[in-house]
């Protein structure tokens, strides 16, 4: 398991855990970034990422990206 901030562009990963609670974790949940969901890494700029879930794309800054723990598919 690695944080999303350490993945590579083009990788497909699956979310295994969301660290932390509170508004940020809830916001991630409302956007559909939940345990078990598959993400495609579209872009990686330093520790910020753009991910795609189905038809939706989300940008996550370094702080948010480090909260999402994923496993490569």
């Amino acid at each position: 398991m690695v944080p999303l901030s350490l993945t590579k562009s083009g990788e497909k990963v699956v979310v295994r855990s969301i660290c932390g609670t509170g508004h940020l974790a809830k916001t991630l949940g409302q956007l559909g970034i939940i345990i078990g969901i598959e993400l495609t890494i579209i872009q990686k700029a330093k520790e910020s990422v753009i991910v795609r879930i189905g038809e939706s794309r989300y940008a996550l800054g370094a702080g948010a990206a480090s909260m999402v723990l994923v496993e490569p598919l």
């Binding site: 559909g32 579209i42 940008a59 800054g61 909260m67």
Partner: protein, 662 residues
């Protein structure tokens, strides 16, 4: 005539505003929503015997109300008692949008789903079985293409039908696991005994909201002295677990509904991925963004040029005609000095403003702005700002008022306060007339560079202020950046033009009322007391200017400039308008300024810098007060601006004087 109140809800970027415009056309206005002083657009549509009043809610992903704009949507849905809710759904991304549907249906209001962008969905090979969707949700579904106005009639008919239906709305229920349902009945049963506190909320719905973490509702019930079962008796890990179960149940429902009603006939292509990889590239992202901005500003000024020439020609024509007419000198002075001199010098900037708004809305419609926010996030983060603050900043170059309102999408209060304090340093279009005038008169061929310098200085001061407030006052990190990147779309010329018209019309109204009013006041002050030479040191304006002039003496400003600053508070364009009045009319203004022995280029630069940084205009100040929701931070924002303006103007005057040896 029966009135029907409907609320328009939906995720961001699904075409809500476009639908609103095609529903209500130009019969819309912004009004204050009762309870919160936040604006919701409302409009009206007549059909047969019904008058439909549409309120456009801010776009939201959920009703959790973490940000001020979500709170507005939540409050309108839960407390305003609408006759029906129309949720607009992006047909190309149904599953994602259904998450909000699962929250909306539980409120228990009559609903209609407007399935937007059906044409795009078809192009992408998505077939949607609307009947199946309708049966599964127990909500009528209407296919529309808001951009082309297709399906709008049908939608209105459905709205009337649904909202005049007498039986209460029953939608599909979400299948929660037993862990959740047992708590729903426990909390719901308890709340049933206190139903009067809940207003129009049903006790069981309130129970779900409490478990999902509606802090507002929880606080309200605690204030009434209630001890809520489960909520107040369990630890946070247990509560988070239940909140997660609810979330997953919502996703499961959305997925089930999508699976049975949406079929994809072709392999989906994702052309957006490649564009994203280029536009948000680690190295190219920022240069691409800067070139976009450079083009936008270049285009703003060159595209508006022909209109400028036209407007100046018309004013010149009126001045000439007036000279040939015999009239009272007092009336003549009012018309030529007050109306043409003051308003005319401001009106010439209207075309640039329209073009700037047009370009900004095109950039927004294509989806690029969200990418730009991502590209800028790291930079913004390093100076203590949130990546999302970037969009308000960009809007701020057009007008600070909508920019300050746009900070509502920020979650953390510290992020909002810092952004609001720094937005006024973004040089809005109202300040441009001042630069054009002074840079043109005192810097000749270098005028363009001087204006560019001012924009950059504004940004630099904003960064400096953000650093200072983040490091010294808030001492925390900006909250993490999470943002949806909307799909790339071809901008619709029509939609952009409508958008430009509404924004530009606001500006014109201001030019017509506030600026005109301000200029008239200056003209009156420059004329009175009777008998004095117009605009001289003996006039009221002269006296006022001279009273305050000593304050600005260290900055080298003469009393005319001081009068300009005082009235510039009404709107920054009035600086030019009042100088136009005081220096003998629009046509004379440039030559009189150049000939004034008390002025030289360094003072002119210090003055432009002061105008850039000092007070925001009255309108912006009102919005700052509204969004800060207290006077303390409003006062700090004002005081900070004046302090920074004074210090910078002082430094520029003295360093500049040393450099040129004056």
């Amino acid at each position: 005539m029966k009135e029907i109140h409907i609320l328009l809800a939906g995720n961001p970027n699904v075409g809500k505003t476009t639908l609103f415009n095609s529903l209500c056309g130009v019969h819309q206005h912004t009004g204050n929503y009762p309870g919160v002083t936040v604006e919701i657009k409302t409009g009206k549509r007549q059909m047969n015997d019904h008058s439909i009043i549409v309120s456009d809610l801010p776009g939201t992903y959920s009703l959790s109300a973490f940000t001020p704009d979500e709170q507005v949507a939540r409050d309108a849905l839960l407390t305003s008692g609408p006759d029906a809710v129309v949720q607009i759904i992006d047909a190309t991304n149904i599953e994602r949008n259904l998450f909000l549907t699962t929250q909306l249906m539980e409120i228990g209001l009559p609903m209609i789903i407007a399935l937007n962008m059906c044409d795009l969905a078809e192009e992408q090979g998505i077939t949607i079985d609307a009947d199946c969707l309708e049966k599964n949700l127990k909500i009528p579904v209407v296919r529309i293409v808001a951009r082309k106005g297709e399906g709008i009639e049908e939608l209105i008919k459905t709205i009337i039908q649904v909202s005049t239906h007498k039986t209460p709305a029953v939608h599909r229920a979400i299948e929660y696991p037993h862990s959740v349902t047992s708590h729903i009945s426990e909390i719901g049963n308890y709340l049933s005994a206190h139903a009067s506190l809940l207003g129009s909320l049903s006790p069981y719905y309130a129970a779900i909201r409490l478990m999902e973490g509606d802090e507002h509702l929880e606080k309200m019930l605690h204030e009434k002295g209630l001890t809520i079962p489960f909520i107040d008796t369990s630890d946070s890990a247990e509560r988070d677990g239940i909140a997660e179960d609810i979330l997953l149940a919502r996703y499961k429902t959305s997925e089930e509904i999508t699976t049975c009603s949406v079929k994809c006939t072709m392999g989906r292509v994702m052309p957006g991925d490649l564009i994203d990889q280029v536009l948000t590239h680690r190295l190219f992202g920022i240069p691409i963004f800067l070139s976009c901005m450079w083009f936008a500003f270049q285009l703003t000024f060159s595209a508006s040029n022909p209109f400028l020439v036209g407007i100046e020609y018309i004013f010149g024509y009126f001045t000439d005609r007036m000279n040939g007419v015999d009239m009272d000198p007092f009336v003549r002075s009012f018309l030529s000095d007050g109306v043409i001199g003051g308003v005319g010098s401001v009106l010439v900037f209207v075309p640039s403003i329209f073009v700037l708004f047009l370009l900004l809305s095109i950039l927004e419609d294509t989806g690029y702005l969200a990418r730009a926010a991502f590209v800028m996030d790291r930079l913004m983060h390093s100076v203590g700002l949130h990546g999302r603050s970037f969009i308000p900043f960009l809007i701020g170059f057009g007008c600070n008022v909508p920019a300050i309102m746009a900070t509502r999408t920020l979650q953390s209060r510290a992020d909002r306060i810092i952004t609001i304090i720094t937005i006024p340093f973004m040089s809005c279009t109202a300040r441009l007339p001042v630069y054009v005038l002074f840079a043109g008169v005192f810097f000749g061929a270098a005028a363009g560079n001087v204006i560019f310098f001012l924009y950059v200085l504004g940004i630099a001061v904003a960064i400096l202020s953000a650093l200072i407030f983040r490091r010294l006052v808030f001492r925390d990190e900006p909250s993490p950046f999470i943002m949806e990147l909307p799909p790339y779309r071809k901008p619709s010329g029509f939609a952009a033009a409508v958008h430009m018209w509404f924004k530009g019309r606001e500006y014109l109204k201001r030019a017509g009322l506030i600026i005109f009013g301000g200029v008239i006041v200056v003209w009156v002050l420059a004329t009175l007391p009777a008998g004095v030479e117009y605009g001289s040191a003996d006039s009221l304006a002269g006296i006022i200017g001279q009273v305050f002039q000593p304050v600005f003496a260290p900055l080298g400003f003469n009393w005319q400039l001081v009068v300009g600053l005082i009235f510039g508070f009404i709107a920054k364009e009035v600086v030019v308008g009042s100088l136009g009045t005081l220096y003998g009319g629009e046509e004379m203004l440039e030559s009189s300024l150049a000939a004034d022995p008390t002025l030289h280029p360094v003072i002119a630069l210090a003055y432009m810098v002061f105008v850039l940084l000092y007070l925001p205009c009255v309108a912006a100040l009102g919005v700052i007060r509204q969004e800060m929701s207290n006077w303390k931070w409003t006062g700090i924002a004002i005081g900070w601006g004046i302090l920074v303006a004074y210090v910078f103007a002082f430094i520029i005057l003295h360093v500049g004087s040393l450099v040129i040896g004056a």
